[in-house]
């Protein structure tokens, strides 16, 4: 065995690993490259390109890109009233058509190919006769009207209920009604909400909204029951938009009139429809006992939601002219006019 100067007792398994000048340089260059790049990303001033440096901790805060809602209103035909009421019993489709007639009919408001969101009130797990949720018969008629008469591309039906969404939609009969009519039900889940910006709103200038069903929507129609409300006196067309809010919305009860008037600012619907078939006169907004409900015959449609709610408060809930404060606040915010005199057309069968 040849003598090894450096390792006089060389082990048979030992193998000397060579390190050439070139390999050494490459190794150093790699270390410098990776280390230098990391040092640049971490240490370069924040405004340099690709820099990840966050000296104050503010750069890493999440950036909300709030969505906005369009104004969904449509100019009514000249000479048409702002609120149209039809009184009569019988076929829901017939009643709805007759109520829409003075306003120019559904085809004036919805163009063929439009995507329409219909927003019922499905807040609670209640059967339809208890008056706490929207009337499914009228909803079905509306969905059919939109798809058949107005030739809408898609009709979406959505709400964010207080109780379990799947149950509320099923037991209020809204899901079945929507599906019978050919509409598509959107239930909220943890990824359906986005922050909405509502300029001018006091409480919900930026607040999460049930966004998924509103994506690419052309027209929005609210369809709500007329019912008593423990805190704000009445829940009608404007209060119905509460059901699109997400987040800890139960804080809003500390200033209920402000939030309801904000809702009038947030959503400017194409039409608002109120149903007076099952009117929850007391124990609202949940009800629960058939004796709380008064049967009626009115279908109300309005292009001015404030006037519509005022009229229904006076004539359907029979509470006189001492309107809820939120209607006056909504008028101040420019969402409509409380004084309905001369702007309502009422017809009977």
């Amino acid at each position: 065995m040849a003598r090894d100067d450096k390792h006089p007792t060389r082990h048979p398994d030992y193998e000397r690993k060579p390190l050439s000048r070139r390999a050494f340089a490459a190794r150093i260059a790699a270390v410098a490259g990776v280390g230098g790049a990391a040092a640049y990303l971490a240490g370069a001033p924040a405004d340099w390109p690709l820099s990840l440096r966050d000296p104050t901790g503010l750069r890493s805060q999440p950036v909300h890109r709030p969505v906005t809602l369009r104004d969904y209103r449509v100019e009514k035909p000249s000479g048409a009233p702002d609120v149209s009421v039809f009184r009569g019993t019988g076929d829901a489709m017939e009643r709805l058509r007759r109520a829409l007639e003075p306003l120019g009919g559904i085809t004036h408001y919805v163009r063929p190919g439009d995507i329409v969101l219909v927003k019922p009130n499905v807040a609670f797990d209640r059967s339809p006769n208890l008056g706490a949720t929207s009337n499914p018969e009228l909803l079905e008629a509306l969905v059919r009207l939109l798809l058949v008469d107005a030739r809408a591309q898609e009709v979406r039906v959505a709400d964010n209920p207080i109780e379990s969404p799947a149950d509320c939609f099923a037991k209020s009969g809204i899901r079945q009604a929507a599906e019978r009519g050919g509409g598509r039900v959107y239930l909220p889940d943890s990824n359906a909400f986005r922050v909405l910006s509502t300029p001018g709103a006091t409480l919900i200038a930026e607040w999460p909204i049930f966004r998924r069903p509103l994506t690419n929507v052309d027209r929005v129609i609210g369809i709500a029951p007329v019912k008593d409300h423990n805190l704000c006196q009445a829940s009608m067309g404007i209060k119905n938009w509460y059901g699109l809010l997400g987040g800890r919305r139960n804080q809003f009860h500390q200033d209920i009139h402000e939030i309801v008037s904000d809702l009038a600012l947030m959503m400017k619907p194409t039409l608002t429809i109120l149903d007076g078939a099952h009117v929850l006169m007391k124990n609202g907004p949940t009800g629960g006992d058939p004796s709380d409900v008064k049967p009626g015959d009115a279908v109300m449609v309005g292009v001015d939601p404030v006037a519509l709610d005022a009229w229904a408060f006076e004539h359907v809930l029979e509470r006189g002219r001492d309107y809820p404060q939120y209607l006056h606040l909504a008028e101040e915010k420019g969402a409509g006019r409380v004084d309905w005199q001369g702007r309502v057309r009422e017809e009977r069968a």
């Binding site: 797990d125 379990s164 799947a166 990824n191 423990n230 805190l231 804080q251 200033d255 949940t286 629960g288």
Partner: protein, 543 residues
């Protein structure tokens, strides 16, 4: 090439052989199990027998029968598995049980053993007697009134883990994908990632998940560790299989003692020698692996000397297990955190639950009710609420959700009657149940020091708004005050009418004072218990 294919005797196998039929059967039952977990949800339950696998579990039937003296609703389905075992042996373990399938699959997927190690790992070991001891302990305790079988029964264990850990995990992964992947304008619209249900959380599900993870990981140490060492259901079927008509039989004239049959023996039942019948899962792998065709699954022509029919547990071990069971019972029962004098204010049981002691004799902790609950209010109990005995039994947490007025899903899916099947009519106390009144889960109370109108002169009363009874159990005294800033405010100060309160907890769930709620429900006054009653007269019903 696989090692087998290198042998001179190697012949290609038929496609239609017992092992392949077995894989089809296992896949079917595993998929059926996952579908049942998925379908146990308010919008998907359509009269499907989602509890069938739990009802078919003979250990559930036997232990609840021992504890209560009766067989509830569909628990007779367990006889099917008993009959199957008496004819074919422990086929349940390797043909039906989804938990066994999970272990076998994971063992196959992560198998890192060389053939020689594999043969060694599939030899019978003394420790496998342990499951018979566990079964003895559990059955003895059940007979004395403490049902703990659900801790280790494979179907209960798997259902609990899938309902509280796996299903929410898959939901939240979808939601995270939806939040993180937003590319505007592309088809990858983040709003499209919808889990279909609102995000559910289960208190302590981490530990439930960890148990599954740990048991599955044990396959690396001992193949089918849970099935061979711990499974009390396997032990019960093992005891029964000693008289099975069919079994694996070894033709000693053909056998060359090559031990190839050990390479994939799931039960470690010594097919190469005297078959330990009570350990054999009837997986049929040994028949596949025998190069001499010496093994068969047969009823006729069995070799009487090549079998050990009885489980490997001796009288001393049995007596010792019995002593452990008898000693554990008072230790668990006398823990003192769940008596009628001292019980947790958070121990609120779902509607239809029978009285607490009877409840504990029936609940198998399968947590199917939790999975069915549409509001996520049902949670697995921790030691704090229900003590050691009630671990992972269902309790209602009204910070998370509330009990929906017209929902009885938990009572419909409960396989053992811990939550007795009730109708909406019975729950609400309507119709013929008017006399007995609604099912009350507890009573709501106000913490006036935290309530906004009471303590701070700030309007609120969400609780009154959402109160679902008619007339409302939360009513208000309305007063007008001048607050400290000089503003006139109308305060609706809420108070409880206990006669009307059903303890549904929606007031607590919706209370804006979120950390420690200003209105909260405790179980006192629950209608299932006389001992935990609150009011002597119900003024609403006496009217």
């Amino acid at each position: 090439m696989r090692p087998l294919e290198r042998l001179p005797h190697y012949r290609p196998k038929r496609l239609l052989r017992l092992t392949n039929v077995r894989i089809v059967s296992q896949t079917f039952f595993f998929v059926a199990f996952v579908l049942a977990v998925w379908a146990t949800w308010t919008s998907r339950l359509g009269g499907y027998p989602v509890s069938r696998l739990l009802e078919m579990d003979p250990l559930v039937g036997l232990s609840t029968a021992l504890a209560t003296g009766y067989v509830y609703r569909a628990l007779g389905w367990g006889l099917l598995v008993l009959a199957l075992t008496l004819v074919f042996g422990r086929v349940f373990c390797n043909w039906i049980c989804p938990y066994g399938t999970l272990h076998q699959f994971v063992g196959w997927l992560f198998n890192v053993r060389k053939p020689a190690e594999r043969w060694a790992s599939n030899r019978y070991r003394r420790i496998y007697f342990l499951k018979y001891g566990i079964l003895t302990v559990f059955l003895l305790m059940a007979a004395m009134g403490a049902l703990q079988i659900g801790l280790l029964d494979p179907i209960c264990l798997m259902y609990r883990t899938f309902a509280t850990a796996i299903a929410p995990a898959s939901d939240s992964l979808l939601a995270v994908a939806g939040e993180k992947l937003h590319v505007d304008g592309l088809w990858l619209d983040s709003l499209k990632f919808g889990p279909g249900v609102e995000r559910r959380v289960f208190v302590g599900s981490f530990w439930i998940g960890l148990v599954l993870f740990g048991l599955v990981a044990m396959n690396v140490v001992i193949p089918r560790f849970f099935c061979r060492v711990l499974c009390p259901l396997g032990a019960l079927l093992g005891v029964l299989s000693r008289g099975a008509l069919f079994r694996i039989n070894r033709d000693v004239h053909r056998c060359t003692d090559c031990d190839m049959c050990l390479s994939r023996c799931e039960g470690a039942s010594d097919p190469q020698g005297k078959l330990r019948l009570s350990e054999c899962f009837a997986c049929m792998n040994c028949i596949d692996d025998c190069p001499e065709d010496a093994l068969s699954f047969t009823m006729l022509g069995q070799d009487a000397r090549q079998v050990v029919p009885a489980p490997d547990i001796n009288r001393r071990q049995l007596v010792f297990s019995g002593i452990i069971g008898a000693a554990a019972l008072p230790l668990i029962k006398n823990d003192g955190v769940n008596t009628d004098e001292n019980y947790s204010p958070k121990l609120i049981r779902p509607p239809g639950s029978v009285e607490e002691q009877e409840f504990l004799e029936r609940c198998i902790k399968c947590d199917q009710c939790l999975n069915a609950c549409p509001t996520n209010v049902l949670q697995p109990a921790t030691f704090a609420e229900a003590g050691i005995e009630g671990l992972w039994t269902p309790v209602m947490n009204f910070n998370i959700g509330h009990c929906q007025l017209k929902c009885t899903l938990c009572s419909e899916v409960c396989p053992t009657g811990a939550i007795r099947r009730i109708t909406v009519e019975e729950k609400l106390g309507k119709g013929k149940f008017k006399e007995q009144g609604p099912v009350r889960l507890g009573t709501a109370f106000f913490d006036r020091g935290r309530c906004l109108p009471h303590a701070m002169e700030i309007p609120c009363v969400v609780c009154e708004e959402v109160c679902p009874t008619s007339p409302k159990a939360i009513q208000t005294k309305d007063i007008e005050v001048k607050d400290v800033f000089g503003n006139l405010v109308v305060l609706n100060k809420p108070f409880i009418v206990p006669d009307l309160c059903i303890g549904c907890g929606i007031c607590q769930a919706e209370c804006p004072v979120t950390d420690s709620r200003a209105v909260y429900v405790t179980p006192v006054g629950e209608s299932r218990s006389k001992e935990r009653r609150l009011l002597l007269h119900n003024r609403a019903q006496d009217r």
